[in-house]
Symmetry: D2
């Protein structure tokens, strides 16, 4: 049929947590969001052939592969989705760019600024569509905050206050997973969760100019996976705090920790401007709290907006009637939708690899500051 | 001095829970609210001379007395405050009215409609100022709700949804206090707490025309105070539920229970109208939740108004700067202030004894309905 | 392969709101929940051939049909899913039962008690698996409440307090949709949303013995769809309130309204027992509030349990790590999972058609009581 | 009478906001808390004779004076309460100490570390009882948090996260009050509100060793009081942020700002330890949120403890039954009670002047760090 959406061959590299979330997005984007291009779930790629086969059957991929090098070159693949750990992003992305593929890369873009810059250079040279997957930008409540800020509803921004709190590493019995080792993970709470909060800071407030950062590893040894009777050193932070200064002068605080008992996925921010305030908490991701000074004085107060109105709230017209909330994985579906529209239109949606580079530079300044014990420029 | 407020001699009958709360109001109304008349705390009255003396010393009363009959006739007493249990209200109030005194009477006005009507007749005949102490009307958040409703902000009212939940009788070990005996207390949760919710319903929505009520006593026997090895029957309800119809057609539900674990003083109401909604919870009595359809669609939501703004919120200019909350006893101070202004101006503030009679009629219809198992007119 | 799940041919009758939600459940149950039987999305059925074809393409159905009579007899169909309006449920379900098919039927089971009883008789006679789709029973937080109640954590139950509040009919400009006409919809807020609250009451507390119910239609005329310059009468309720008595003596209040501004999908209940309380709100469906008297006195309080723990909370091991919330449509996926397991094991999961009959009898008593103005037995 | 509490003559220097709050405490401590010593409200002191006389009449002081030097030497004065702005604290306190008086001094103890140290030396030399009025330590919810931490309920402390947010300076029309001038106020948000948060940090977690602080003045000019057509420079901060390190290794963030629209008095902290978390918000000061890992896994969650139980919660047995909340000024009454007991027993209650010195040193390090752009030791 002439009016059928064109198909786009997708290869997904990686099939764990992010692999499941991305696969779901490719399955759901069609039925719910009717994108201009239809993703065809061609190849799932991973090193363990058996595990990949099982995952592909469950997640809905047509084929499997164990070497991403072959995959990124295939003619029937148009989009390469990189959902592996950060230390392999650069190699895969650069190869995919050279092969002329559109790329979706999980955050963080890379483990170092250098790698990130090389990736950006590659996609720019190849002139391919590139996107960084910071899915929380596409929560309807976050996007609504963005709209309000862009419309000037908050006025001049004075403060960003971001905390991403989790508690899954509190038990000292938890073994020395790869996430606790710097050579694999790059960093701990910093790159894993504080990076989300700083990406939202850049998205909502603007570029960060300077950082005074602190890092700590409270639980310094953990049982070895291979022999729990012995322990090995944790070489990444489990808590990260920072003061920041935005380029336009606003003040910020950003914190990520894995040691905040009771906070399961508490990615919270509050932004105060000269005309109003917005606040958000990922654990209640369908809500946005808003205070507007423009309301009549006697009835000013924080509004809990249930961001589920198909007529008035971002992305919701794809889902359910008012008050019927959406969940975590929907944020990836929105991301994939915007990526597909970007590919259809030939433009890289934000956040792109340049955002990835900028995020990485802030993380780098944070780490430098934690060592130098002084403010560092980004 | 010519501009000093005139003094008003006060006698307080009763010195337990309500006696403490009323005494505090007379002490605090001057320093904080500067009423037109200054209450002078003349006489505290109760049957146990020793206990009264101790209470008077602690609460700040000049003298004590053991017979209210003498007290209500004294020339230096201008205001009689009745804070005894409900079964003695009528006799005291009628005598005070006949002696030409202004009267503040704790709720419920009486234990029966007949007594309440006799009291109203007495104060009307004597042309004295009379006021019923339903202190929750004078919570700033409740008064703000009243203002909004009167201003038409909620439009036509469709629903009142009132629940007053407590949990203090859950333990079956709690002895057979006088509050569990009908001859003393009149009723249980019905008159004690559901009556507050229905007074607020009348205050905020209007007169109640019909009731379908239910009453239950879940814990039917309790240890005797005098001999805990034996038990006696509980003769009042511990839970009361009702559907009501307001004269103007709105629907209501009202519930009072002493068996809602975790709810300590949860006097909550929600009112839905054609233009908006208000909701209130006594456990967070400095807040009012408001939803206004008139807000821009994308930013509609329940506002949590912190009702602490001296410039814009009722009664608050007597207290502290924004965000500095007030407590339970302040509601009595507001009540006494309005009473003093009423006496100064010669007008009975609402709720007055007529409100007391009307409240009693609703309670009576509720009890009749619980027996007849059908709707009863008020 | 011997260990591949067996396939089950599914036909879905109806493709609007519920059709979308059910289709999603069939697509998602495999990738996320690995049921014993794999649903194969064979036929989507509806009267408008073009619309059905479009829906089938979007929702993932292999074929379409316009006459359900043909569909329910097909040999390759093993499960008939009825997602049409209530007035057609009985005819389709009885035919499907006679054809020996397992049946999933959207709530309400029927528009009358008589129809519901006939449907139950048919499935019992045919000995087919039957299930009523009351999806909210399978919200993890609701199921956790059920577990706690069954384990005795709340002790003896005293109170059920259920309100299902929405606000979508507030505008009098909204036209006279079929939902406002009794001949099509059966009833208004009563059958549409109050029925959810009473199903949860029966699920969590037990059978309802008596009802004192009230019904009201506040907005009595609406513009005709075909000619908005004229209006026609609304013949269903837009608000429904009731007192109920459970067979075991507990007291309940249940309310459904479409006129509670700001409440978008506020299906809230609170249950008080002799040892604790649970409270739930659909707008925050990933949370359960729990108060347990067994906690140490100084630290008793309402706990906000984020019901997202794969290790400890119902259904969550199929989804994401702690704190990553799920959405509305997941409740259907859980329902379909339990249905598939039921079919695999040859047993009808609750709620089944008998629950449907019992729910219908309560609704019937409610309507009778609204007319008789007295309590009616169920 | 032999068992009457002994009287203690009190002089209060200053009669504005804090003067009103302290006066109320002296009036209320007797009736509600029955301290061992009865405060007698002898002298109110201020420079404007007329204003002081009016205040004394309203607030309940027997006499007035205009020179604090005379007052602190009077034989009938045993307690000197200093409620003036910070720049006069040192002089008054040192004179009072030399006169052998017990001293209650409003926070901050002084505007500089040097002054604070001199004050501490004076009270130690004179061996008088001294107390710093940081009233928020004596909020029942805060004291409950303290008890839980001291009992080890939270385990090892990892994080303190304190924010004190207000919004009263947002309007640029607000004139150049003395609070905006460094020579009078010492600092802005830093000393006024961030200082509360750091005092709570020290109270609940321990001594602070190092600070990386930032300060900003967003609104740099304001209309002159004397001539609103001209403006003058704001010489204090309106926003202050800091990272801190506690002596025992815990990480902290502390922020004070007067530019957070909608936050009226949002003194919030959260403390995460190895066994649990507590969180508090002054705008809901009767509540403490607690998460305890020791709860059964399926029912873990943040508890909202309504800290109003006379049997189990600090200070509450002086007030009302459960669920009847207290207000802002009660915290001063608790403070005065503990001071009176301290004087009766001859011991200085915490926080004392040594706490004042330590708080001042942290503020000083914060200011030094804001200049040096590096971490500074306390």
């Amino acid at each position: 049929m002439t009016d059928r959406p064109r198909e786009l061959g997708v290869a997904l590299i990686g099939y764990r947590f992010m692999g499941r979330a991305h696969s779901n997005a490719y399955r759901q984007v069609g039925p719910f969001m009717s994108p201009s291009l239809t993703p065809r779930m061609k190849v799932l790629c991973g090193r363990d052939a058996g595990a990949v086969a099982e995952a592909a059957a469950s997640l809905g991929w047509e084929e499997t592969a164990t070497d991403w090098r072959d995959v990124v070159r295939r003619d029937d693949i148009h989009l390469v989705d990189i959902s592996t750990p950060g230390d392999s992003h650069a190699e895969i992305a650069i190869a995919a760019a050279e092969a002329g593929k559109a790329i979706l890369c999980e955050k963080p873009l890379a483990n170092t600024v250098g790698e990130a810059e090389a990736m950006l250079a590659a996609v720019e040279k190849a002139e391919v569509v590139h996107m960084l997957c910071h899915n929380y930008r596409r929560i309807p409540a976050v996007m609504l905050a963005k709209r309000m800020i862009d419309a000037g509803d908050l006025g001049e921004i004075y403060h960003y206050r971001g905390t991403y709190l989790q508690d899954w590493v509190v038990s000292p019995e938890l073994p020395l997973l790869w996430r606790f080792r710097k050579e694999k993970a790059g960093s701990g709470a910093l790159g894993d969760i504080a990076s989300h909060s700083l990406d939202l800071a850049r998205f909502l407030v603007g570029e960060i100019a300077e950082v005074s950062g602190d890092l700590e590893t409270f639980i310094k040894e953990r049982p070895l996976l291979e022999d729990p009777s012995r322990t090995g050193p944790v070489t990444v932070d489990d808590a990260a705090t920072a003061l920041v200064r935005f380029a336009d002068g606003a003040l910020g605080t950003i914190e990520g920790t894995r040691l905040a008992l009771g906070r399961k996925n508490y990615n919270r921010f509050e932004i105060n401007g000269s005309k109003g305030t917005v606040a958000f908490d990922l654990e209640r991701m369908n809500e946005l709290e808003v205070y507007l000074e423009s309301a009549p004085p006697a009835s000013r107060g924080f509004r809990r907006i249930l961001v589920t109105d198909p007529e008035h709230h971002p992305y919701i017209d794809s889902w359910w009637p008012p008050g019927h909330i959406i969940g975590y994985e929907h944020t990836f579906t929105h991301t994939v939708y915007d990526l597909l529209e970007g590919i259809a239109g030939g433009a890289s949606p934000r956040p792109d690899f340049e955002d990835g580079v900028r995020n990485q530079r802030v993380l780098d300044a944070w780490e430098r500051s934690a060592r130098s014990r002084r403010w560092e420029g980004v």
